[in-house]
Point group: C2
Chain length 369, copies 2
């Protein structure tokens, strides 16, 4: 089976799916654009990062996060480089303290180092959040401490509130600016059961994303002190991120911000699902309980077989239940992420467990060696 054929089959299954078990249902592009047309407030478009609904979005984000200023950016990869470059320039330091599993280290092709000559220095490598000990025992000094909430590649893990407070306080004691990689900050808020502004107040700058739980098309925001945000806008421009018009993204982001209250219910449902799925023989869940609306599901099935089973299930039932599958460390086991969103809430827990169980059961058992 060719890769192009795989992709085509997968796309057809998604396009013809009637129900989605994770995140938000995939809506046809035309319907999506019509919904945005209905939601647009300003008749005038924004222009090179100013005007239209963009100014209002930036004000809303700043307010929600309790920061003096915010700037919309096309992507988090750009937003974080801009923020960390400003901190590096201000501190005259060239290394940022991060977790080795953070997005900056794993998924950005060394952009910060290659474009900005800022080293990412991992101060922890284990599958657990950063701790205050990681920071105080690290060589330093750092241009910034970057804390990813949650640490996605470790299984969407969050530090406890006390640990997070201690970590950020230790950084400030060393005059190290704290930057939050809040790609899933909205998703983290229920775990702390504190306001977003109270969480953001632990940090100097915060990046948030509009296209994950908030269901936007793309885009991010960086919030922080006015002078830092002003400086970040110049880096955004240099990156080629000051776009002529961004209103589709802006309108979608503003709609997303209306959903902030929903993450509490998603987190509850994720915990319920984790209990139920974890009780099925041949399935394991990490972390147990999940910290956010997402967790990692391990299944005793070869990755290729599970991929095929999930696709066949989608083609037959028109229910899209399981996304990307990879091989787990343990031979014969595979791993996939499960993210609770509005589409998930259309299912009962038992319906969902039944669907996942049916898919996994339909896989061939791994051959014994």
């Amino acid at each position: 089976m060719t890769s192009a054929h795989d992709r085509e089959r997968r796309e057809r299954a998604i396009a013809t799916a009637r129900r989605f078990a994770q995140g938000a249902a995939v809506v046809p592009v035309a319907d999506r654009l019509r919904a945005l047309a209905d939601a647009a407030e300003s008749p005038l478009p924004d222009l090179y990062g100013e005007g239209g609904d963009l100014d209002g979005l930036e004000r809303e984000v700043a307010q929600v996060l309790g920061k003096p200023a915010a700037v919309f950016m096309p992507s988090g990869t750009m937003a974080q480089q801009c923020a960390l470059r400003v901190w590096a320039d201000r501190t005259s330091r060239d290394a940022v303290a991060v977790h080795a599993l953070s997005h900056l280290v794993v998924h950005e092709e060394d952009a910060l180092e290659v474009l900005h000559r800022i080293r990412l220095e991992p101060i922890a490598r284990e599958h657990r959040p950063l701790t205050v000990e990681d920071l105080v025992t690290a060589p330093g000094p750092y241009a910034a401490l970057c804390v990813e909430l949650p640490l996605r590649d470790a299984g969407y893990l969050l530090p406890s509130w006390e640990d997070l407070v201690d970590l950020c306080a230790a950084a400030r004691d060393q005059d190290i600016p704290v930057h939050l990689d809040g790609a899933r900050l909205w998703e983290s808020q229920p775990f702390y059961d504190r306001g977003l502004a109270e969480i953001a107040d632990l940090a100097d700058t915060v990046y948030v994303s509009f296209y994950k739980g908030l269901g936007g098309i793309a885009g991010a925001a960086l919030a922080g002190p006015q002078d830092v945000i002003d400086a970040a806008r110049h880096w955004q421009h240099r990156h080629g991120g000051t776009l002529f018009g961004q209103y589709p993204y802006v309108v979608a982001a503003r709609r997303g911000l209306e959903r902030l209250e929903d993450f509490q219910a998603y987190a509850v449902r994720a915990r319920e699902l984790a209990v139920a799925l974890g009780a099925v023989p041949g399935l394991r869940v990490h972390p147990q309980p999940p910290h956010t609306n997402a967790f990692v599901l391990y299944a005793e099935a070869e990755a290729e077989a599970l991929t095929e089973a999930a696709l066949t299930h989608a083609e037959r039932s028109h229910d899209w239940v399981i996304g990307r599958v990879g091989a787990a460390d343990v031979p014969g086991w595979s791993t996939t992420e499960f993210t609770v969103g509005p589409a998930t809430m259309e299912w009962s827990v038992s319906e969902l467990v039944e669907a996942v169980t049916a898919i996994v059961s339909s896989c061939e058992r791994p051959r014994s060696e």
Copy 2:
């Protein structure tokens, strides 16, 4: 009058304008998004630079420009840095030969130098296009020669076909890759009266824009050899330009590509307008005749007075005729760009000349010293 008040007045005048004399009429955001919904082909969105209508757009651009491959990028600033970085890496050279008035030098906050450590070396500073003499007498060697078609800040100037061929051939003789800054390549095509692929064939890589004459929302494409485009995609990713979804830009860009035939009529109209406006006392046009659909208009009026007169005219007549006005070098004269587009074609030449003349006449004459 405060700057915020100025901006608000200007925005209100644009929002309530019934006719536009330049470019495309400003359409309310909601109407724009609805039109895109009608134009979308793929029901599935693109995802991180793949799938949906994006693949088709990239194929179309490559085909129109006669290049093996093309990649969509959110902006030209990004597209050109990615292209020039690839050429610098391949040639192991760190300077790009450019005109001192090119967009790269004037409008990008030294991004190529700051982010990529590639120097922009101006090989000409006069208000005329680059020539083969500029290149052969320059020190070199260069990672690339960048030719902006047309040279906007010199008045949208194009070199003759023969001069362009000679310049590009000289670069190739020196093993210098040629990159076309084709931000207005579509607009340049009628001047040469040759196919876009024949023009693009003079260069190794070509950047084109979707939001100027083509009327898109934002975005650009870079076309060239497959391996160069593949490498450029990695730089796009590092810049933070591999966005989760780009379909609003993509659908708008594809609609824009249906308009390529229209630029011939815009160029003709620009020449007609230039003749008529140039005959009005107190007005001058540069270049005469215009090379593209755009030219620079000089008026014997203070910039502030002309700005106010244009705004007052728009408020009273609901015709938006003159855009940004600046001070000319000559005291008492001001300068503004005039760009012919679909909205312009709704006016007769005499109607337009009448409107411009009325606006300029309503300005106070500059005080004699």
